[in-house]
Amino acid sequence: MRKLDIRLLRMIKASKGQFISIAVVIILALTIYISFSMTFDNLNNTIDSYYDITNYGDVFVEVVRIPKAAIDQLYTIEGISMAQGRVMVDVPLKVENPNEKVRVRVVSIPKEEKPINKLFTIEGREVKKQIKATAMLRQFAEARGIGIGDKITPYIAGREYPLDVIGIVGSPEYIYLMENEQSILPAPEKFGVIYVGEDFAQSVFGYQGSYNQIMIKVDDESLYKIDTIIDEIEDQLDRYGVERIIKRDDQLSHKMMMEELDSLDKMSTAVPVLFLIVAGVIINIMLSRTVKNDRMAIGVMKALGYNNIQILQHYIKYSLSIGLIGSIFSIVFSIMLSRVFTNVYMQYMNIPIMRTEVYFIYIIYGVIFTSIFCILSGLMGARNVLRILPADSMRPEAPKIGKRVFLERIKPIWSKLTFSWKIVIRNIMRNKRRALFLIIGIALTYSITMVPIFMSYVFSDLFAIHYGEFQTMDFNIDFSKPMNNNGIKELSKVIDIEHIEPKLEFPFELNRGWRKKVVSVIGLNTNTEVYNFTSPQDESFTLSQEGIVLSEGLADSLKIKIGDEIILKNFLPNKEDTKIQVTGITQQYLGLNAYMNIEAMGKIIGEKGMITGALVNSSDDVTAKLNNVANINNIQSVEDMKNSFLEFMDMIIYSVGLLMLFGGILGFAIVYNVTIISISERLMEFSSLRVLGFDKNEIYKMITRENGLLTLLGIIIGIPVAYGMCYGIATAFDTDIFSIPVNITPISYIITAIATIIFVTVAQLATIRRIYKLNFIDALKSRIS
């Protein structure tokens, strides 16, 4: 081995703490990059092949009723390769606990040879001609502990229909199981899907020879013009009462997964780049210090006849070996982790098949990119090698110019400082670049730590505001079919009610130019007591008699402001589209909705006095009392929402912890390295202080004060950076389901500051050994390089 390489190895050994801490940052960066990218590809491939196997549809149309012949007519539309009908109805399920409300979606299995949305049988048999048999979606079966051979009993039109569970299945449209857009979180024990034979479904739901949903496959070559095809479908089916047309991109489960994948994709590059930059800056500072300390050794090398390139290589090999060693660990970790991550996602996403592969391309990209990065930062750090003249390097370096720092000119402050504080401040000011890096590093640590804390607070806020301030009803009751005001009266008879008001909820397509969005429009009394509308400027307002109020997220996505006119597109048969003015925009963090006066909305639908549900405040046992009441489709209680939220919180606590750990590692690496560098750069200075009679603790205290002061500055600068980062995250998370408000509570700032101080302190303690080991006599005497 070349002697310079031996020197390199010993150099690494002597600075192993720094070497390891930088390597850990690189390992983190590269592991996140490789494993997230691989997970992303694995998931994408798994989903693709699952869709392929199960023949997942491209367009789904919900209609009032459509005969088979009309579905076959759809083949006349160019680009449609398959169209199949099915019956799909949500009904209550009989369960032991009368207070528990569980609903199942009964779906018929098409008879066609090659069904669209074919079920993937995980266990048991397929449902074919059997009448009293059903196949159950796995998530629901698992959540409720139902297995093959068990009996379940849905209520259909007031009657009990016991069914044998003969199969446990997966379905491409319920990879992510949610009842509808209004459910914020999956609750697989409260809502499930069961599949039955077509004849059975048609007979019990009264759809003989007809369906209420159409599944459509579009040719791959025609997918680009899917919107035109959808328009044609809508025209052709108009008389069958089209309620909704959902294309795959808008299908709930698919959309949720794509959003998940999208954020995975973003994370897989953003986090690594940030970490690599930090590693690069540490390498840069560290190597420039090493080169400075090695000045004489470099002079000797040059005197011996080593050229600049050879010497530069020697130092760059240091940073490159950090990169390469980091790469080796990262590759091992990523291959393991991408399996684990893919597995976790699979569990969460409920795909019964799995495609995991090792994508070497990401390893290659990652290693090449990291190596280039390390070489460049090494080059930047070691570039001073070129400036060292062999003859000069033999002479001791001229002392750094000592001059008065800015603060000294402010006499009233400066004169009050003690001697050691003066040294501290002079040191900081003299090494501005390093001080700046430390401040930026701490600011970064602060903001990275802030993100998870912000997230955990914001989610609890989100729910508290949505269910405590925006909506104040205890129960949200949906009827199974539209009724008139008598429904309210009857409800009042069954349960003790403090407050009740009607609601009318229908899906509409909101059009504004070429932008459109299908949302639930909710009709309310103008003087509603259970919805509190607040403008983005925090002023509360009420519904107007005419006109429509949009949630903020909806208004943003359609680019609408107050006073604009929009077109309400109706899915009911033979109803004209309506123009309506937007009279208000309200803050709403969960879901996208529009609100109208209930009478005005009834007019649009053409059914005066119609209601689809009720909003109730009551301390009565509403769920239990209404359980056996006919015509009630769904009761959503705020209590249930809270519970499912708690479960959701458990899940995010892990990711919060992980992010905190990342922030901690980054903070540690920065503070540890900068402190070590600052100690070794000033060995002579400390030694002189020791000779003057300072003890080790006093010297250590000086460094601690320096770091403490810079930490304080770092945290102050970190506050706006953290705000920006949270803002960015909130925007990235903004979806149809969440709109995240960026209000960081004061307590979050404090918790983050404490966490940051802990990270800094740990790093600081790790460097204490250096000071205690300092042999000041040697340091003063020897100039051995």
């Binding site: 150099m11 050794a297 005197a303 011996l304 050229n307 003249l389 033999m394």
Partner: protein
């Protein structure tokens, strides 16, 4: 000796710019070095002797004047050729040894030899400097004299044309210093290497074939020693 000319220094001057002041470190120096001679350059500190040595060794360039190695003008060399010149032709010994702290004695020598073409056998050199038992020690485990012997071994093992020693005994006690001088003399005699020592220590001049005296950057006297005394008889 005149026909044995190895190096020729013609009219060199060196002016340093130190902040706003100009410092003349060497002024119009003319000098010839011959193959196989032992030269001592004497002068107080600041007399320009290190500057002269650095220029001869290709570590520094003169502000004016020319330096020749045989027929070649090294002051015309670019950086690459200058590096090569240091690599193949010159051996340096420094006052503070300047060994690599994290390489052993032997590795320090190898560091120099692995980049030159006709390096000498390292084990023989280690033996010649009397360090065959200490070759796996690190500099910090060796005395100053031992470290300086490693430094000499490092310079000699390259098999250079000329050995340039900058105050080689400056950091050593008297007895160790004498041993180092004997070693240098031995290398001069047995390997027929030209050795140039700079020192402010007058008595060392007695062992040289020629003594060159410098003061304030100028060469003030060149004295030939008809009968140089062996280093063991030097006293200071």
């Amino acid at each position: 000796m005149a026909n044995n000319s190895l190096m020729k220094v013609e009219n060199i001057s060196k002016i340093y710019q130190m902040g706003e002041v100009e410092v003349t470190a060497a002024k119009n120096i003319n000098l010839e070095l011959y193959q196989g001679e032992f030269v001592v350059i004497l002068g107080p500190s600041g007399s320009g002797k290190s500057t002269l040595l650095n220029i001869i060794g290709g570590m520094d360039l003169p502000t004016e004047g020319r330096v020749f190695l045989k027929e070649e003008e090294i002051t015309k060399y670019n950086d690459k050729r200058l590096t090569n010149y240091r690599r193949e032709k010159i051996g340096f010994v420094f006052q503070f040894y300047n060994l690599m702290a994290n390489l052993t004695a032997r590795e320090n020598v190898e560091l120099a030899t692995e980049i030159c073409k006709d390096a000498l056998d390292i084990d023989e050199i280690m033996k010649a400097v009397g360090l065959e038992d200490r070759k796996d020690h690190f500099p910090a485990q060796m005395s100053g004299g031992e470290q300086q012997r490693v430094a000499i071994a490092r310079a000699v093992a390259k098999n250079p044309l000329i050995l340039l020693c900058d105050e080689p005994t400056g950091a050593l006690d008297f007895e160790t210093g004498i041993k180092i001088l004997s070693l240098l003399k031995k290398i001069n005699k047995e390997l027929n290497k030209t050795v140039v020592i700079i020192t402010h220590n007058m008595p060392i001049g007695d062992m040289a074939d020629r003594v060159i005296k410098m003061r304030s950057g100028e060469l003030v006297e060149i004295k030939e020693n008809k009968n140089p005394i062996p280093p063991e008889r030097i006293e200071w």
